[in-house]
């Protein structure tokens, strides 16, 4: 196994172009497990730790440009206001040691359906900044990024440089079920974001289908129900029947399997429960903000 150590982003892109099978490694929290268990033995490892700006982030007008290697602990600490869903998801990642090393770029590169960041990215809305030496930079919408079990839309010569996550314009929540109260891989996970500016709700489901997915039917139903009922304006409590139907539709958009971590039937059920609860939490929060705004006015 050759260990490539580019000193700059340009060198990294050149190395990836020259060795398309090279596996990028940053925090190593995923790749090293695979290597230690002998699940994969890449011909080349491409060490990105010398590429400094991968660990940086910029808060823009519309979105946060989050470097691929920004560790989860930084997201929790510094981006809670801008990216609340992702910050909550970061909380659930493994242990403090792993959160100090691992970042969203690795989650995206591996594209495991169980990656903790995915549901939050899907719910918030995001674009993956991919780059190659030959074709330069492109932004891949998150909805088009996950293409199969542990497969993504990257070309062999591309590297993930950053992910652009839309700044929260409303409350966001994230829940994950595991059979342990910390340090656990998701049995299934759910992210939900309210977007009051566009009067839409977005979702993300993890570990309950071959790829991370959005519950689009559920979103469409809820968006219509909220619009028709004038909920965004009135800020009234969402009717239990609406919440239940939303939850049922979220369950229905799962396509899970039975495995050692849980049954398919449980996953469907749990996604429904998390959908209802996260909707309740975010909507309560939205109503609270509205009341506070009215009070100030």
């Amino acid at each position: 196994m050759d260990f490539l150590r580019p000193a700059s982003w340009e060198e990294a892109l050149a190395a990836k172009a020259e060795h398309p099978t090279a596996v990028p490694i940053a925090g190593g929290t995923d790749v090293m497990v695979e290597i230690n268990f002998d699940h994969r033995r890449p011909e080349y490892l491409l060490d990105l730790n010398r590429v400094g700006d991968l660990g940086e982030w910029e808060v823009g007008e519309e979105s946060v440009r989050l470097g691929a290697s920004v560790p989860y602990s930084r997201i929790m600490e510094h981006l809670r206001a801008e990216l609340p869903g992702l910050a909550l998801a970061s909380h659930t990642v493994a242990s403090p040691q792993i959160r100090n090393r691992g970042g969203v770029g690795g989650n995206l590169g591996t594209a495991s359906p169980a990656g903790d960041a995915h549901p939050a990215l899907l719910a918030a809305g995001a674009e993956v900044e991919a780059e190659s030496a030959a074709r330069g930079t492109r932004l891949i919408p998150i909805d088009e990024f996950y293409t199969g079990v542990k497969r993504n839309a990257l070309q062999p010569d591309e590297l993930i440089r950053a992910v652009h996550v839309r700044k929260a314009d409303g409350p966001q929540q994230y829940s994950k079920v595991g059979t342990r109260n910390a340090m656990v891989i998701a049995v299934c996970a759910f992210g939900l974001a309210l977007h009051p500016e566009t009067r839409t709700v977005r979702t993300g489901i993890g570990s309950a289908a071959p790829t991370p997915v959005r519950a689009r039917t559920a979103e469409d139903f809820l968006n219509a129900a909220l619009e028709e009922g004038g909920f965004w304006d009135s800020g009234k409590i969402i009717t239990p029947s609406v919440a239940k139907q939303f939850a049922d539709l979220c369950s229905a958009s799962c396509n899970p399997i039975d495995d050692v971590r849980g049954t398919a039937s449980y996953r469907r059920h749990a996604v429904g429960v998390m959908a209802r609860r996260t909707l309740t939490w975010t909507w309560e929060s939205y109503r609270g903000t509205r009341r506070a705004t009215e009070g100030a006015a």
Binding site: V33, N36, F37, D38, L88, H91, T92, Q173, Y174, S175, K176, V177, G178, T179, R180, N181, A182, M183, V184, I185, V187, V260, R261, G262, T263, S265, Y266, R268, H269, A270, V273, M274, R277, T280, W281
Partner: protein
């Protein structure tokens, strides 16, 4: 050049008196916490090779051929050995039945069975070479449960059995069967006003020790070998290793190296023989370290079990009878299965008075992973079932579950189902009273001014509830565990104790072969020596086979038996010291001849407290060293038909109250508190006692809510051999564990002590299950309980 990372002597001074009853600190504690402690996997030797084991990828198959040619041609490979290379006629090993091949011969019987071993100059080279060995398997149907094991046409896991159990078992795929029959169950059933039955399932738990199997074998100039290894019983290993190597036992030297936990999983051999074979073949030191994946295949697990129970009780709450059948899955090799059967059957009633019983326990041979010793050893599975039964009975009778247990609790003098009287304190009702009397933790502890603290809720950091769906439940359980090796086993320990003068001060050295696996024997031995010999400074010699056997670090026995041996050797040394004193100084003071003399604070004192002289003066120019064996009371075998016999040495009791909060919609559990009360006879080191109780309690919690090795019933292959998918409790899963220690002396035991390590592992699991049942109203007849069992989505 010696191996590095080999254990060295540990000298412990003590600021206080440092005798028994004090919470002296562990000499290895700080080293372990700071990462400085040398575990067996840290050992190193110049010029050493690395060993690697090739294991079977299927559970049950004939081996058609093994081709090592390509692997042998790999640069850096020094040796590859298969069954055909074994040097003597002894090619099997085993704790009780020698049915386990050192390397597979003709057949593999479980997933992960060793087939070939490789020595190479780098671990990665060894691993790659092993991967190049071509094994052609012809797969056989797998035997995975009682039905497939005892079917009339079942393939025999072991053909041609001639072990000492083979004559009395009903089927060759049953390792051992122990019935226990006492009284008249049919008549007793007539007296019962209520009858409760249950069928319970106990999942396969792993010891999950953190230090994987590892050791270093160094060839010696005399043709022998020196093995540094993490194990639980050096001399048991030695007895199994030497014949396979074709060496007399004195040419196989063994030294205990740093052990990273055991819990029963190191009673059987793992890499010991393999490392020695490779070292002797290559003439070079060979180190073997399993990785975590391999470790799951490298040691036996706790027997999964099916338990069928029927209890009766009168309207006023007295138990009438018990009829039960316990089926333990022993997997492919016998390991400790026969003894586990003995425990499961003889302890199947629990700490209750039931005069009429009809009990049967069996262990199966199957193609599942081999199962053997683990903390609680057969008593754990039984406790899970009988405690569920107690709750069912109490409910049916409309009685309080604690009062119902207390009404039927055994006490000193009660007869076990084996007919053996319990002849030391058995404070079962009192332990239950104590856990019940502890204050309950406040409700809704997750609520704070800043909203819900998810760490206090089911799901924890995963943020699954802010209180929705959360219901509290409380459950109780109590258990009984035997201490020491049972059924007529000659369960002795040896200790060598030396006193001499160093730097003008009398000091002691204690040398035993006791495996320190974390239980704290190295602390306790120093405390005993200080108490008995009145010295301050005690050196603990590394454990090795240069001294007699200390028996196994298991069955909660080491403080009792090796502690007893150290006490005994100290007493013999003291007599000798006093003889020297009388000889040297007897003429100076009449008390030398007339008074009862003690050694205290470095002085010889009379029992009236008068100082006769300095111990250092007595020992000036002399030293005293005595090695002696020590035995507890003998036990008897259980009758093969009736199960009657004084089979056990001592019993140990603990009770738990579990408080859980369950997210009933998501099926997630947070154990809020696990209060424990345990009788320890005498707490030699109170801090260690509490640590043991908290550790045992947590291990019991693990198998209540998460720990299970999952074996595919179609292929008998292990599906989760990793800490990613075999989950053990984190600190966030570990509740507050208030401990109430009761000290009622057992007059038969040294200092009145009671073995303590296992009892808390028994009652913790059923207490948690009872609490979850209380919260959910579900029946829950299996452990561990998983979210799908609590949400109807299994």
């Amino acid at each position: 050049m010696p191996a590095t990372g080999a254990p060295t002597k540990i000298t412990q001074g003590s600021p206080a008196k440092g005798g028994i009853g004090e919470s002296t600190l562990r000499p290895d504690g700080t080293l372990k916490v700071t990462g400085e402690f040398a575990y067996s996997s840290d050992m190193w030797h110049e010029d050493m090779l690395w060993g690697q084991i090739l294991r079977s990828t299927v559970a049950h198959a004939e081996i058609v051929s093994i081709d090592t040619s390509e692997a042998l041609a790999t640069a850096g490979v020094y040796a590859i050995l298969t069954y055909d290379d074994l040097p003597t006629e002894v090619k099997n090993y085993g704790l009780e039945i020698q049915d386990t091949p050192v390397l597979a011969h003709g057949k593999v019987r479980h997933h992960g069975e060793p087939v070939a071993i490789v020595a190479a100059d780098h671990p990665e080279t060894a691993r790659r070479a092993a991967a190049k060995i071509k094994v052609d398997y012809r797969e056989l149907p797998v035997i995975t449960d009682e039905a497939s094991a005892t079917a009339p046409d079942a393939i025999l896991v072991h053909e041609g059995r001639d072990d000492h159990h083979s004559g009395h078992v009903p089927h060759p795929n049953i390792v051992h069967r122990q019935p226990i029959v006492r009284g008249d169950v049919a008549a007793a059933r007539e007296r019962a006003d209520v009858i409760v039955t249950g069928e319970y399932t106990f999942g396969m738990q792993d010891q999950a020790f953190l230090g994987p199997e590892s050791g270093l074998a160094v060839p010696e100039e005399d043709g022998g070998v020196h093995l540094y290894v993490a194990t639980q019983w050096l001399h048991s290993d030695l007895r199994q290793i030497a014949p396979v190597l074709g060496l007399p036992e004195d040419k196989v030297r063994m030294t205990l190296s740093g052990v990273g936990g055991a819990f029963g999983g190191r009673e059987d051999l793992s890499m010991q023989i393999h490392a020695c074979l490779l070292a002797l073949r290559t003439g070079k030191p060979v180190k073997i370290v399993y990785n975590r994946f391999e470790s799951f295949f490298g040691h036996v697990h706790r027997h999964p079990a099916k338990l069928y129970y029927e209890h009766g009780a009168t309207r006023d709450g007295k138990l009438t009878h018990l009829k039960c059948r316990i089926v333990l899955d022993g997997g492919a090799y016998a390991s400790a299965s026969p003894a586990v059967v003995g425990n499961a059957s003889s302890l199947s009633v629990g700490p209750y008075v039931v005069d009429d019983v009809d009990i049967e326990a069996v262990a199966l041979y199957t193609n599942n992973p081999p199962c053997g010793a683990m903390r609680g050893f057969g008593a754990v599975q039984a406790c899970f079932a009988y405690e569920a039964q107690m709750d069912k009975l109490a409910k049916k009778l409309g009685m309080d579950p604690v009062k119902f247990r207390q009404l039927n609790a055994m006490e000193q003098g009660t007869l076990m189902p084996t007919g053996q009287p319990v002849d030391s304190p058995a404070p079962v009702a009192e332990l239950l009273r104590r856990v019940t009397a502890m204050p309950l933790p406040p409700e809704r502890q997750w609520e704070s001014s800043e909203g819900a603290d998810v760490r206090q809720l089911p799901g924890g950091l995963s943020n699954t509830t802010h209180g929705e769906g959360v219901v509290r439940g409380v459950g109780y359980a109590v258990g009984i565990k035997n201490v020491g090796f049972s059924e007529g086993f000659d369960d002795y320990s040896t200790a060598k104790v030396r006193v001499e003068v160093a730097g003008g001060e009398a000091v002691a050295t204690v040398h035993t072969a006791m495996a320190e696996v974390g239980q704290g024997g190295v602390t306790v031995h120093a405390q005993i020596a200080r108490t008995e010999l009145g010295v301050a400074q005690v050196t603990i010699h590394p454990a090795d086979t240069q001294v007699g056997s200390a028996g196994s670090t298991s069955a909660s026995r080491q403080t009792y038996v090796t502690g007893g041996a150290v006490k005994n050797a100290c007493e013999l040394v003291r007599e000798k010291v006093l003889e020297i004193g009388r000889r040297k100084f007897g003429s100076y003071h009449p008390a030398w001849a007339t008074a009862e003399l003690l050694l205290e604070g470095g002085k010889v004192v009379t029992d009236g407290g008068e100082v006769l002289g300095d111990l250092a003066d007595v020992l000036e120019g002399e030293s005293v060293e005595i090695e002696a064996e020590w035995r507890h009371r003998p036990t008897e075998a259980f009758d093969l038909r009736t199960g009657q016999g004084n089979g056990h040495v001592q019993y140990s009791f603990a009770a738990h109250r579990a408080v859980v909060e369950v997210d009933t919609e998501l099926g997630l559990v947070k154990v809020i508190e696990l209060a424990c009360a345990q009788d320890v006879g005498k707490a030699l080191n109170p801090l260690s006692v509490v640590g043991q109780i908290q550790g045992g309690t947590t291990q019991g919690l693990g198998v209540a809510v998460m720990e299970e090795i999952i074996v595919d019933p179609k292929t008998a292959k292990v599906r989760n051999p990793s800490f990613t998918d075999y989950l053990i409790p984190t600190i966030l899963d570990t509740p507050t564990i208030p401990v109430d220690v009761l000290e009622l002396a057992d007059d038969h035991a040294p200092y009145g002590l009671r073995g303590i390590g296992e009892a808390p592992t028994l009652s913790s699991t059923p207490a948690v299950l009872a609490a979850i049942r209380d919260a959910t109203g579900l029946e829950l007849n299996r452990t561990p309980v998983r979210p799908e069992h609590l949400t109807g989505t299994a």
